[in-house]
C-alpha cells in the first residue's frame, strides 16, 4: 500500500516480525475482521495475526452489543424482564423466556399447569428448529453457498407464522412467562403444526443432500477446527459444539427439566467419518460434526413435537400469580438446553418483586471463548468455517 505499511504501525513492526537466524523472515500482518464483517455473524471483532493466507492467531474482541441486560435485571420486576430475555439469543427467544421463567418459578415456588408445560416444550422445540435453520443457512453462506440460506429462511418463515399465530410476534415473543404462557394456543394451531412437521421432515434430508454431503462443503469443513472432548469440557462448551466433539450430553436428557423425561428422542453426537453416510474425511469435533449435529437435532425436535401434538392435554395454560410476584430471599441457578448450548440464569431474590441479581450464562459467550484456542495456524477461509460452526449470536455474548 502506498503510504501505510501493511502492518498497523511502524512501532509494531518489531513485535510482529520474527527474525530467527537462518530462517526465512516472513512478514506478519494484523488484520481486523469485524466488527462489520459478513462472516462474524454480528458485531464480533477478531484481530487476526496473519502470515499470508495463514492465520497465526485470532483474538476475539466482544462487547459491541452490550446492553446491560444484567443491570436491567436488577431494576425491573421479573415479569418485566421477560422482554429483555427475548433479546439475548434473539434467534431462540422462546427458550430464553423459558429458561428465565423456570428459574423464577423455582425461586418463587410457582406451579405450572401441565398443558402450559406442553405448550412450552412445543415452542422451545419449534424455536430450536428455527434457530438451527438460521445456523444451517448462514453456515452455507459462510462457505460461499448462497442458496441454503434462503431455503433455511423459507422454512423458518413457516415456524415464525406459527409463532405469530400463537403470540402475535415473530422474533421477540415474550410468550413464556413465570407460571405458564401468556395465552392458549389458537384454534387450528396443532393442525398447522402437524402439517408443518409433515412438510418439514423430508426437507432435512433434502438439505443434507444439498449441503451436508456436498463434496466441496465436506472438503471445506471436515477436519477443520477440531475440538477434543477434553478441551470442549474445559472451555465450558455446551450444546451442539460439545456434542459435535462426541460428548453425549444434553440437559434435556441428562438433567431433564420441564417434561423432557416423557419424550422419546435421541441425542446426536459427532462421530468419526466412514460409517453410515458420514464422509470419511470427518473427524469427531470438527466443524462438519458441529454443523451436522444441528441438522440431526432438527429431526429429533420434529420427533419431540410429534409426541407433543399427540399428548397435549386440555386444561389451564397458566397459573397466574396473585398480585405482584414477590421473590423470596433465596438464590437459584438453573440451566436449560438452548439452541446454542446451556442457557443459565442465576436469580437472587430479596423479598421484593425486583430481583436482587440476575446473572445470565450465555452459551455463545462460553463457546466463543474457544476461538482463540482453535483458530491457530489455520487458513483465512477456515476462520469463517470455524466461527460459523460454533454459531454464536452476539446478543447473547454481549448481553
Amino acid at each position: 500500500m502506498p503510504d501505510a505499511p501493511l502492518t498497523n504501525s511502524p512501532d509494531s513492526l518489531a513485535d510482529v516480525e520474527r527474525v530467527v537466524p537462518g530462517e526465512l523472515r516472513t512478514e506478519e500482518m494484523l488484520l481486523n475482521m469485524g466488527p462489520q464483517h459478513p462472516s462474524t455473524h454480528g458485531v464480533l471483532r477478531l484481530v487476526l495475526r496473519t502470515d499470508g493466507e495463514l492465520v497465526l492467531e485470532a483474538v476475539p474482541h466482544i462487547g459491541y452489543l452490550h446492553r446491560c441486560a444484567e443491570k436491567i435485571g436488577e431494576s425491573v420486576a421479573s415479569f418485566q424482564f421477560i422482554p429483555i430475555t427475548d433479546r439475548l439469543d434473539y434467534l431462540a427467544a422462546m427458550i430464553n423466556n423459558q429458561g428465565f421463567s423456570l428459574a423464577v418459578e423455582k425461586l418463587a415456588g410457582l406451579e405450572v399447569p401441565e398443558r402450559a408445560r406442553y405448550i412450552r416444550v412445543i415452542m422451545a422445540e419449534l424455536n430450536r428448529i428455527a434457530s438451527h435453520l438460521v445456523s444451517f443457512g448462514t453456515y452455507g453462506l459462510d462457505m460461499g453457498a448462497f442458496t441454503p440460506f434462503l431455503y433455511g429462511f423459507r422454512e423458518r418463515e413457516y415456524i415464525l407464522d406459527l409463532f405469530e399465530a400463537a403470540c402475535g410476534a415473530r422474533l421477540t415473543y415474550s410468550f413464556i412467562t413465570p407460571g405458564g404462557v401468556t395465552q392458549d394456543l389458537p384454534d387450528g394451531f396443532l393442525d398447522n403444526l402437524a402439517r408443518f412437521l409433515d412438510y418439514f421432515e423430508p426437507k432435512i434430508d433434502e438439505y443434507n443432500d444439498l449441503l451436508s454431503f456436498n463434496y466441496i462443503f465436506i472438503k471445506r469443513t471436515a477436519g477443520v477446527g477440531v475440538i477434543s472432548p477434553e478441551d470442549a469440557i474445559a472451555y465450558g462448551l455446551t450444546g451442539p459444539c460439545l456434542r459435535g466433539s462426541g460428548v453425549k450430553w444434553d440437559l434435556r436428557r441428562c438433567m431433564p427439566y420441564e417434561l423432557y423425561d416423557r419424550f422419546d428422542f435421541e441425542i446426536p453426537v459427532g462421530v468419526a467419518g466412514g460409517t453410515d453416510r458420514i464422509p470419511r474425511e470427518v473427524v469427531a469435533g470438527d466443524s462438519w460434526s458441529r454443523y451436522f449435529v444441528r441438522m440431526q437435532e432438527m429431526k429429533q425436535s420434529v420427533r419431540i413435537l410429534r409426541q407433543c401434538v399427540q399428548q397435549l392435554p386440555a386444561g389451564e395454560f397458566r397459573n397466574k400469580p396473585k398480585g405482584i410476584l414477590k421473590l423470596p430471599p433465596k438464590e437459584v441457578y438453573l440451566e436449560v438446553e438452548g439452541a446454542r448450548g446451556q442457557l443459565g440464569f442465576l436469580v437472587v431474590g430479596d423479598g421484593k418483586a425486583v430481583p436482587r441479581r440476575v446473572k445470565i450464562r450465555g452459551p455463545s459467550f462460553c463457546n466463543l471463548a474457544i476461538t482463540k484456542h482453535v483458530c491457530r495456524q489455520v487458513l483465512l477461509a477456515d476462520i469463517a468455517a470455524i466461527l460459523g460452526s460454533i454459531d454464536v449470536v452476539m446478543g447473547e455474548v454481549d448481553r
Binding site: 500500500m1 502506498p2 505499511p5 501493511l6 537462518g22 530462517e23 526465512l24 495463514l54
Partner: protein, 171 residues
C-alpha cells in the same frame, strides 16, 4: 495515412509510458507505465504485420512477466512505499549520458540512408513462422526450451522456503 496515424499514436503511448517509467517515483506506478509500453509495443508489432509476435508479447510479457514483476513488488511490499528518487548527482549524470546517447543515436539513424528493400509488409503466417522455427531455427529453439527448463528449476529452488520451515508453501 492510417499507418502513420496509428504509428504516431502508438509511438506516443510507448514513448510516454517509457518516460513515465523514468519519472515515476513509485514502483507500482512504474509497473503500470511498463504495461503501457508493453501493450504499445505489442500493437506496433501488429502494425508491422507481425501478428503472432504481438500476441506473444501480450501473453508472455504483459500477461506473465508483468504480473510476476507486480508480484515481486508486493512480496517486497514494505519496500514498495519507499521513494525511489535517485541521488541528485546520479540523476544528473544519467540524464546527461542518456540525452547525449539519444542525440547521437538519432542523428546516426536519421543520416543513414537505409536501403528500402520492402515497402509492403510480407503476409507472415503463423504456420510459416512455425515451420521456420522447427526447421531453420531448430537449434536455438531447443536451446531456449532447455533454458526455460533450467529457469523453472532455478526459480523454484530460489523461491522455496528453507528446509526448516514447515508452513504450507505459498505461491
Amino acid at each position: 495515412m492510417y499507418e502513420a496515424i496509428a504509428f504516431y499514436l502508438l509511438a506516443a503511448v510507448v514513448a510516454g509510458s517509457a518516460f513515465g517509467c523514468v519519472i515515476a517515483t513509485n514502483i507500482v506506478r512504474m509497473a503500470l507505465c511498463l504495461l503501457g509500453t508493453l501493450g504499445g509495443v505489442a500493437l506496433l508489432y501488429f502494425l508491422m504485420a507481425a501478428n503472432f509476435l504481438g500476441v506473444v508479447q501480450l501473453i508472455v510479457y504483459a500477461g506473465g512477466t508483468l504480473i510476476v514483476i507486480v508480484f515481486g513488488v508486493m512480496l517486497t511490499s514494505r519496500a514498495a512505499g519507499v521513494r525511489l528518487r535517485p541521488k541528485r548527482s546520479e540523476a544528473l549524470a544519467g540524464t546527461l549520458i542518456c540525452i547525449g546517447l539519444l542525440a547521437g543515436l538519432v542523428t546516426l539513424l536519421v543520416r543513414t540512408a537505409w536501403p528500402a528493400a520492402q515497402s509492403e509488409a510480407q503476409a507472415y503466417d503463423v504456420a510459416w513462422l512455425g515451420n521456420e522455427l522447427l526447421s531453420t531455427y531448430l537449434v536455438p529453439f531447443e536451446m531456449v526450451s532447455v533454458l526455460l527448463l533450467a529457469v523453472m528449476i532455478g526459480a523454484a529452488f530460489l523461491a522455496q522456503p528453507s528446509g526448516k520451515d514447515k508452513e504450507p508453501e505459498e505461491r
